[in-house]
Every structure is written in structure tokens, then in C-alpha cells.
Amino acid sequence: MLTALVLILLFPLLIGVALLFKSIPLLNADSIVNLLFSDNWAPNSGKFGFWPFIFSSLYVTVLSFIFSAPLCLLAAIYLTEFASARLIRIMHPVIDILAGIPSVIYGMWGILVIVPFVGDYLAPVFGLNSSGYSILAGGIVLAIMCIPYMLNMLIETFKSVPYGLKEAGFSLGATHWETIKHIVIRKSRPGIISAFGLGMAKAFGETLAVMMVVGNIARITGNPFEAGYPLPALIANNYGEMLSIPLYDSALMFAALVLFVVVLLINLVFRYLIIASNPAKV
């Protein structure tokens, strides 16, 4: 039993070491700062600047956060404070099911709905020309994927606010909304921050759904109607030629390492925040 547990706890170390090991040839060839922040991506001439990919990843992640976070926060407040008991009973399985739907399905929905919406309707409104396969489409699809995940965590957070605290607010003469604003949200702050952080980590590491709608062209652009190329998509798209170009395999494994480290760190930090703010559970 212990062996099984120890083996599993060694997973992260194992993953980290294996990916690091594969990245060493690349790290020997160039400095890490250069790799991360140079925008010169030309594998055939041995130039591996990851900045366009990291930039795209950050861009879609931030966009998805902007779309999903306020919606989730408001919806979670509604479900825990205002909604009827029946709606909550219905919503629980619905959220669960949506959280379980594979990313490729969200990607397909993105191609069928979001891409034409962005390309045919939204871009012309701004006087732009867009195929629809764009950073914006990636952000929207990611936002929708993250909704069930974040919503679940936020509902849990709000539910854990003791009734006694809300009663205190009510009895002091606060309206229901004032109680929510001053007490429930304040008490839940660590939980809200964690839910947002973990939601962003999920968006940052998400692969297929984004890759299917984001266009996959490596360049740095501030225009959300243009295509982007996030890190996970880079890995997923190029594994085929990985072994035919020198250092390319090392470069892709380095990209995986960056993803792994970033997402693991975010997870460790925000999960620690949840534990630290909830002493009763420890």
C-alpha cells in the first residue's frame, strides 16, 4: 500500500525530471531567458524563441478569464443566495456533466458556433476581416470550458460561509445584497481568488479545444481577431516532425516543462491558500 502511494507521490518529480532531462540539449544551446522571451521562432535554423507562444497562451488565458470570471461570480452568488432550492438541485448535476464533457467536444462546438460567429458577425462590426479562427474564439471557448470548473469551486466557497455570519449581517440591518457584498464575498475572498487562479491554470494548460479554434499561426499581435498559437497547441501540432529536426524534440519537451511548472506552481499556491484560509479543515 505504501509503495503504491509513494510511487504516485513521486509522479510530479518523475514528470519534472523526465521533461527537464529532455530539455537539457536545448538549454545547453541557448539561455533560458532568451528561450522564453525571444520571438525568433525558426526551428530549421535552430532558433527557438518561445515568446510568441507564451504570449498567445497568456492572451487567450486572460481573455477567457475576463469572459468567465464575472459571469461565474454572479451566477454562483445567485445560485447560493437567491435561487430556489429546486434550481440548485437541478444545477448540481448539470454543472457536473458539463465539467465532464471532453475538451474536444467544446472544440467542435467552437468550430461550429464561435468561429463563424467571430468571423462573420463580430469582426465586421469592428470593420475587420477575420477567418474566425482567432485568439478571441480561443478565449471564448476556453471561458466556456472553465465555467463549470470555476462555478463549482465558487459555489463550494460560498456554501461554506456559515449561516451565523449571514444572520449577523441581517440582524444588524443589512439588506441581503449588503450581507453578500460586505460579508459573504469578504469571507470567501481566499476561495474566490483560488477559484479564479485554478480556473486560469486550467485555461493555460488546455490544449485541444483552443487549438481547434485559435488558428495556430506564430506571431505576436494585440488584435484578438487574428490567429494565435498557444504553447499546448505548439506541442500537440508538431509532435509528428519532432524527431526529424535537430533540437526540435528538446524544444517541445521544454514547452511541456514550462507548462508543467507554471500550472503546478499555480495549483500549489492557490490550493495552499484554500487550506491556509480554512483552519477548521486541517
Partner: protein, 284 residues
Amino acid sequence: MQKRKTIEERVFRILTGVACYSLIGILGYIIFIIFNKGFSSLTLDMVTKLPSGGYYYGGEGGVLNAIVGSLYIAGGATLIAIILGVPAALYINSHLIRYKRTQNTVRYILDSLWGVPSIVYGAFGFTLMIWLGMSASLLAGIITVAFLITPIVIRSFDEALSTIPIGLQEAALSLGSTKSQTAFKVLLKQGFSGLVTAILLAFGRAIGDAASVLFTAGYTDLIPTNLDEPAATLPLSIFFQLSSPIPAVRERAYAAAAILTIIILIISISARYFAKHYSKENIK
């Protein structure tokens, strides 16, 4: 003052309500689109025939290769995850039960592992595969997915086990059984519904994940007959066939999406049913 408060209250009540119902609307719309597209393409041929003429170009046939491949990979990975995960979860709730700090640290690490993107598992599995001299195959896919879902099996089984009162274990211990015997007998019996839920959850994740099998399982139009042959999966068959220029091939992707969604729905609903139905029989 009072009026302003009343208005503010009303505004936010409406705002949160609109947010909530629009989420329900969006999410309902997704399901609608998937089924609407999927059911019109979903014929008997889809589930009983292999794709003919290649997954990218041919039009005839179905996605049986992907259905069988997915079941093989998810089934195999779940089996490995159970073998590794169940003893680990039992250990956390028996031997570690007096060491809250260790218990919490272990849970903390496992939860964080749960968040690691599947593409990272895919890259790791690929590295391992090259290292072991294997090629993209059913076995490599199974191993990679097993890595991905083992933390899920442990943590969700562990969640169920942690609600079992310590007193029950103590009772068994006082009757003279060893810690491991206690763990296996008492906890397994009491936590059985939790275990089923954990397995269903892990299976659902395994069958839906694409990024981890992208490099490791390969892709084929045939049904694998051996562990070292490549295997197709439903998510990848959606992904590849959707990018085909031929409408008939894309139809196969829609059908595969509907099949995958139905499988996920069945898993979710039965997990819920198990969690509810069987936890009633437990001693609380």
C-alpha cells in the same frame, strides 16, 4: 438612502439571475448543437463499421475503430489506476489516519497533480515511450492515461473514505485484526459506493481525454488486436475527422461527438446514482 439600497438590491438580484440563466442557456446550447449535429449523422453504420477509405478522405463506414479503441484505452488505464490508486487511498485513510499533517500534505500534492494539463502527461508519456523503445501503441496510450487518472481515483475514493468514522476502524482493530486487514475489509466495504463513483469519474476522464493519447496511442482505421498495435480513440477521431475537407468525413466526427457525449452522460448519471443509492446503506 433606503430607496437607493432597495434599488441596489434589486439591480444585483437581477444581474446575478441574468448571469446564472445565461450560463444555463449557453451550456444548454452546447448540448443542443452537439446532439443536433450528431444525431443526424448517427446511423447504425456509424457504430458497427470501420471507416472505409481512410479517416481523412473516405466517406463511407463508421467509427467503430474509435469506439473500441477508446473502450480499450479507458478500460486498461482505469484498471491500472485502480490497482495503484485503491491501496494508496486505503493507506491514506488507515495508516495515516493519526498523522493529519502527512495526510493533508499527501492530499495537497494529489490535488495539485489533478490540475496538471493532460498535454504534459502526453509529452511525458511520449518521452517514456521513446526511452523504453516502444512505439505509439495501445499499451503506451493505456500507461499514459493511467498516469493521468490515478490521482483522480485516489482523491475521489479518498474523499469517500474520509467520511467513514474512525470508530469503525477502531472497533475492527480492537477485535485483533491488523491495520491492513482492517483497511481492506472495513474501509472497502463502507467506501464501496465511493470507489464506484471514483472509478466512473476516472473512466469518464480517460475516455474523453485527447491530448494525452495524441502522441502515445497513434491512430488507425483498424481495431487493435494486440497491445503493441496503435489504437484510435473517440476524441482523436473527432479531432482528425473534423479537419477533413470532405463533408462525409466530418459527419463521422459529429457522430463520434454524439457517442462520446452520450457515454459521458451515462457515466455522470450513474456516478450520481451510485453515490446516492449506496451511501444510504452505510453506517454513518
